[in-house]
């Protein structure tokens, strides 16, 4: 018997959104596999401002 528990209880989500999201997720995961290093262990998302300043300093004329 199929599990009828809604994935997001309380929400009336369009079933088409699920299909679109699965497609988008698959595309994302393929792109991620192409671009990511073997591990993200030593990466830091909050370093974006540091990265921007470094790039501005490094490449500005």
């Amino acid at each position: 018997m199929a599990d009828e528990t809604p994935k997001f209880p309380g929400y009336a989500l369009d079933t088409a959104a699920q299909a679109r999201a699965e497609k988008a997720q698959a595309v994302f995961r393929e792109a991620f596999a192409n671009l990511a290093p073997p591990s993200l262990f030593d990466t830091e998302p909050q370093a974006i401002e540091t990265a921007l300043n470094k790039l501005a300093g490094d490449v500005a004329p």
Partner: protein
Amino acid sequence: MSLMDLTLADAAAGVQSGAFTSRALTEAALERIEARNPALNAVIRVEAETALAGADAVDRTRAVGGAIGPLGGVPLAHKDMFYRAGGLTTCGSKIRRDFRPDYIATVLERLGASGAVYLGGLNMAEFAFGPTGHNEHFGNCRNPWNTDHVTGGSSSGSGSATAARMTFGALGSDTGGSIRLPAALCGLVGLKPTQTRVSRYGVMGLSFSLDTVGPLTRTVLDNALMLQAIAGEDVNDPTASRRAPEDYTAAARTPNAKGVRIGVARGYFEKHGDADSLAERDAALAAFKGIGAELVEVDVGDMTQINTFAAAVMGPEAATLHAGWLRDQPDDYGQQMRARCEIGFQFSGVDYLSALQLRPKIVADFCNRVFSQCDVLLAPTFNIQTPRIDETDIGSGQGFERVVASLSRCTRPLNFLTLPGLALPTPGLVEGMPASIQLSAPPFGEARLYRLAAAYEAEVQYHQRVPPMSGD
């Protein structure tokens, strides 16, 4: 000639010199809105009393020799998503139709401190989530170059009202192209600044990792004047950069293209492109070459991959912000807004964080590869002909994702890459509608863009073109 046909810079100079008053400018703006807005639906709320009182205050200050600021007395209207204490801020939505915040956005506070007069709120895509300019709640915004055509979005009213000379300039927001697209489709200059350049305190959020705030104007100098007023660190927004802004207005006043290496981005940016639109891009390249720039071919890599990262960030962030309303009052959303938000629910937490985690590396790799070969990168802002309103009025029906993707394919990558992007009109028109190029630079390279763009503007004179209007 109406005072509204002046540039923002000339309007400010006129008030400063006493050639005319801020009240005269503001009355001209109100008259222009009354004449042109019925055909365009760009202005959704005029605050005439507030505007005239603000104008009179500037005039009184000037009369007693006080400083009125670099935008002193200039009336400006903005996308209706910047908060003012006690003022209506609808976000283009039914849900926030009566919303009155109790604090002011830093960008509005700074424009006011520079002397600008607040004129009213402009139409926009619902919650800034749509690239065409359609709005189910306030009605579709129309393009002054041809009212059968879309304005681009989501800052639809900012594009239409500025191009139709109902305001001297306008703020917009850009999460995937929402400043650059309406600027491009309406024949304007539009800047998406570097991700952290402008404070977002008091600005309606859509995707906090990708949202930016910037100006749409008729000229490069006007754009620089507005950015100068709003850029810089903000104690109320910890994500705003503490890096000091450059002198943008000085850059716009010292045009130079000589010796500038312009990287020509082909491949991805030409794919699915319309021949006439790409011919306009080529005409812009020829103009740059004619004023001394050096053109170099640059391989930018596969932007499709960058776009998938942007989607993995934008979807979950938008879904998070809207989760409560999507649960409790889903029918109060327009079809497309709801459909796009719902996709965000389905991404996993690991997907979302992986995209953010990898972002600094992707940005660094892109900049080091591209900007070691050129100073500024040039691509089309959009590479198709401007769609009609009726052919893109499809809500969440079949094909809506294709419409979204085809309009924003050239703008979306810069949001994930954090880079500044400046939309500029091309030398000619395509089927009577504006076409546009997009210049981008390394992080915080806005002054570099303005200097180059001002040289191009002086050569091409696109700002002398006036959209055909009726109703005056």
